[in-house]
């Protein structure tokens, strides 16, 4: 169809419609103003260290009466006409830039203006550049325009500063020099009679919200942003909160975003010709739970080419297990392809990503990574709890180890003397077996004949096995271990690794459900727990006896095994009845000793 093209006519009511979607609070709106100020410096290529942004709050009694954001760049009238006056211009933030392809924080040219229009009774930008002053703003009817007599009006600097109400601020000499030489000017964006918003009714609450706001937090962290109250002259620097990491998780967990993810049965790709790097997720931990005033930090920010393009509280990523741990986690995710102009996932307000297969798949993947980290934290927590619970168990275990050595030293001589290869647990021998038992056991020392098993290495090991407790004892075969060795709940109650066999080590697996139940219900100081440990020793001694018997015959019958078990367990029980009465029956650990 051939048409005579007309400019679009859009009713101004659309601004009310869209403005409502912004759902501003003052921290969010101020973050928009801070981004605009930051972009003004970026356009002028002024380094971070030479920038200055001042946020001023004025109150009357307990009522917030004015909010201002002041930068020292300034706008010319043409910038107001071309950029400030125009809504929905994606290039608005770049207008007037010295560099053609400057990267700016502002995205769609709306945020700051909508905040001015929606959240104040009236608002204005008082701006000064090249000796000329412009005041442009919104009236109470949300209409905008130049203030009468302040459209490109020639004004001396001193008068302009008074008109903007910033003449009494203590400004750094470099800023004053640039103002005096006319290199730069200033802009004070002023909002009068701000709307009341829950949570920001007092100044402290508002400042806290500002420094925790994901968009503002990064700027506050990197740039000299100051705050001033009422008529004060002295500027106070805003600082972003520094979080101390959780012990054991000091290093951020950095995971590369996969090149493709499966979502709803389809492969979603995170690279293309223009965006070859899929990105990465960095998760960090906080020593303190990120709740109450820190709750807004319990967030994963999505970082675009410049600045945050979306921000999700961890609970907004979806349901996660280990909820007690996820509130210690925060992080940021870079994924350049989210800004692919062909499939842009960035919303106007940069709060949340646009819902699309790509963003949904990424959010789900991030949720999984958060959950995986939370699981690791929970596991560490459990281990620490268990170590604490088991702290008395090492004393009990030492007692049982000593008792076991004495017992085996006596009984092994009686049972196995002259029956075949001696040694705690001999291994493969040469043709027809090895040495005969010498009947001279010495109880837990390295004397006597050491068996070899589970391999051909000739390694010396204790005469009788050493019993250790998982979750309590460090791995003696790992000299660098700093935390207790833990077994899997699915490992047997008595566990050995290949290297444990060679070293004559047994682990009592305290992760077994029954062990955990006894500790949880009766504590590790109860007679029940001591009984449990004793029973594991019975198993270990019986197992050793069966292996010893196995060396004497290539074919053990069930009867052979049962006879051996009967013999050994009878002797163990008889000896325990004599030696371990208080250990097994006394109520308290002290009396057991």
């Amino acid at each position: 169809m051939s048409i005579k093209v007309q400019p679009f006519v859009i009713d101004v009511a659309v601004l009310d419609l869209i403005g409502k979607e912004f759902r501003f609070d003052h921290a969010k709106g101020l973050a928009e103003w801070l981004k605009n100020s930051s972009d003004a410096y970026l356009r002028e290529q002024i380094p971070d260290s030479e920038q200055l942004v001042v946020v001023r709050f004025c109150e009357s009694g307990n009522t917030l009466t004015r909010i201002e954001c002041i930068d020292f760049v300034g706008m010319r009238k043409n910038q107001i006409d071309d950029a400030f006056k125009r809504f929905f211009d994606p290039e608005a933030a770049k207008k007037g830039a010295k560099q053609a392809h400057v990267k700016v924080l502002g995205g769609h040219g709306n945020g700051g203006k909508f905040y001015m229009r929606q959240m104040f009774k009236s608002s204005r930008a008082v701006t000064y550049r090249d000796g000329k002053m412009n005041i442009f703003g919104f009236n109470a009817k949300k209409q905008y325009g130049f203030e009468e007599e302040f459209e490109d009006r020639k004004v001396p600097l001193a008068e302009a500063l008074v008109e903007a109400g910033i003449n009494k601020l203590s400004l750094p000499p470099e800023i004053v020099r640039r103002l005096k030489t006319g290199e730069t000017g200033f802009t004070a964006v002023v909002g009068e009679k701000p709307d009341k918003v829950k949570g920001t009714s007092n100044l402290k609450g508002l400042v806290d919200k500002l420094i925790f706001h994901p968009q503002a937090r990064r700027l506050i962290d990197r740039k000299p942003i100051f705050v001033v109250f009422n008529e004060e002259a002295t500027l106070t620097r805003l600082t972003a909160p520094k979080l101390e990491a959780k012990e054991g998780f000091e290093t951020p967990i950095v995971v590369e975003v996969p090149a493709e993810l499966l979502h709803g049965g389809e492969k979603i790709v995170f690279t293309n010709k223009n965006f070859p790097w899929p990105g990465r997720l960095a998760l960090k931990t906080s020593k303190e739970p990120l709740r109450a005033h820190l709750a807004s930090l319990n967030t994963v920010d999505f970082i675009g080419e410049v600045g945050v393009i979306g921000s999700y509280r961890v609970h907004e990523l979806g349901a996660t297990r280990f909820s007690g741990q996820v509130e210690f986690i925060y992080g940021e995710c870079e994924c350049p392809v989210l800004e692919d102009p062909d499939h842009d996932c960035v919303r106007n307000d940069r709060q949340k990503l646009l819902e699309a297969d790509r963003s949904t798949a990424l959010l789900e993947w991030v949720r999984e990574q958060v959950e995986a980290l939370a699981e690791r934290m929970e596991t560490k927590n459990q281990q620490e709890r268990k170590t604490q619970d088991l702290k008395n168990t090492s004393v009990l275990n030492e007692m049982l180890n000593r008792w076991k050595d004495r017992f085996m030293s006596q009984v092994w001589t009686e049972i196995f003397a002259g029956q075949g290869p001696a040694g705690g647990s001999g291994g493969e021998q040469g043709t027809g077996g090895g040495e005969r038992g010498d009947g001279q056991n010495t109880g837990g020392t390295l004397k006597g004949n050491e068996g070899q098993e589970g391999g051909s290495e000739k390694t010396r090991k204790p005469r009788f096995p050493q019993v250790l407790v998982s979750g309590q004892d460090n791995d003696p075969l790992d000299p660098l271990s700093t935390i207790p060795f833990t077994c899997d709940p699915r490992h047997p109650a008595i566990y050995q690794r290949t290297k444990d066999v060679v070293a004559g080590i047994y682990w009592i697996n305290t992760s077994r459900p029954l062990a955990e139940k006894i500790i949880d219900t009766y504590t590790a100081e109860s007679p029940r727990w001591r009984e449990y440990l004793f029973q594991r020793y019975v198993e270990i001694i019986a197992r050793e006896a069966i292996y010893q018997l196995g060396k004497t015959s290539a074919t053990l019958s069930p009867d052979d095994v049962v006879r051996q078990l009967d013999d050994v367990t009878t002797r163990i029980h008889d000896q325990a009845a004599k030696d371990l009465t208080s250990f097994l029956f006394a109520e308290s650990l002290q009396s057991a000793k």
């Binding site: 075949g420 290869p421 647990s425 291994g427 493969e428 043709t431 027809g432 077996g433 098993e453 589970g454 391999g455 051909s456 899997d488 699915r490 490992h491 047997p492 566990y495 050995q496 690794r497 290949t498 444990d500 066999v501 292996y547 196995g550 060396k551 004497t552 015959s553 290539a554 074919t555």
Partner: protein, 193 residues
């Protein structure tokens, strides 16, 4: 008739001595019987009227590593796999080559009931533990090296036999599980080689 090797001769002698069962035989009985049946193979050099036990010793331990023989305290017995191979040697084995032997069938059934198989089938292979590996091979952490390696070979043979003779979905799963376990627990297996 196809000539048979020395180890095969020992195997057939052990099969006869044990009357086709898995029962322990004294080393000396094996030496004497092998010499009586194959004097030219097992005689002492220079003294053909006497047996040479060293000719038996080495092949016996090699057979042990192949999972054909178990030993303790100078007695030896044929494992189920050893019995299968001996039966084939002397021609009493099941003639149907497209069916799994009883031993192969038993191994596969054991594997199918193992924790490793269950977890692998449920897509939870990452949860398979070292103790599951031992159960899979029908050994324990304390199984002597040669016997362990013998069991590895026996299990591998059963899986290969299943693939050749059955060629069904289970064959595929068994092969994949075996490859996964051997790769995941390579260190565990290598320390015994």
């Amino acid at each position: 008739m196809k000539p048979i090797s020395k180890p095969q001769k020992i195997l057939s002698v052990m099969f006869d001595l044990s009357k086709g069962q898995s029962k322990p035989l004294l080393y000396e009985d094996i030496v004497v019987s092998a010499f009586q049946r194959y004097p030219e193979d097992f005689q002492l050099r220079g003294y053909p009227q006497y047996p040479d036990s060293s000719d038996i010793h080495k092949p016996l331990y090699s057979m042990k590593q192949d999972g054909l023989v178990r030993s303790a305290n100078k007695s030896f017995l044929l494992t189920p796999r050893g019995l299968d191979i001996a039966r084939n040697l002397i021609g009493t084995a099941d003639a149907q080559r497209d069916r799994l032997t009883k031993q192969e069938e038993k191994e596969v059934n054991r594997i199918v009931q193992s924790q490793a198989f269950r977890l692998f089938q449920e897509g939870q292979a990452a949860r398979i533990l070292d103790t599951d590996l031992y159960e899979y091979f029908g050994v324990s952490v304390r199984t002597p090296k040669s016997e362990f390696l013998g069991r590895v070979i026996t299990v591998e043979q059963a899986i290969v036999a299943h693939r050749v003779k059955r060629k069904d979905e289970l064959s595929d799963v068994l092969s994949k599980l075996h490859q996964w376990l051997v790769s995941r627990f390579e260190e565990e297996i290598q320390t015994r080689k």
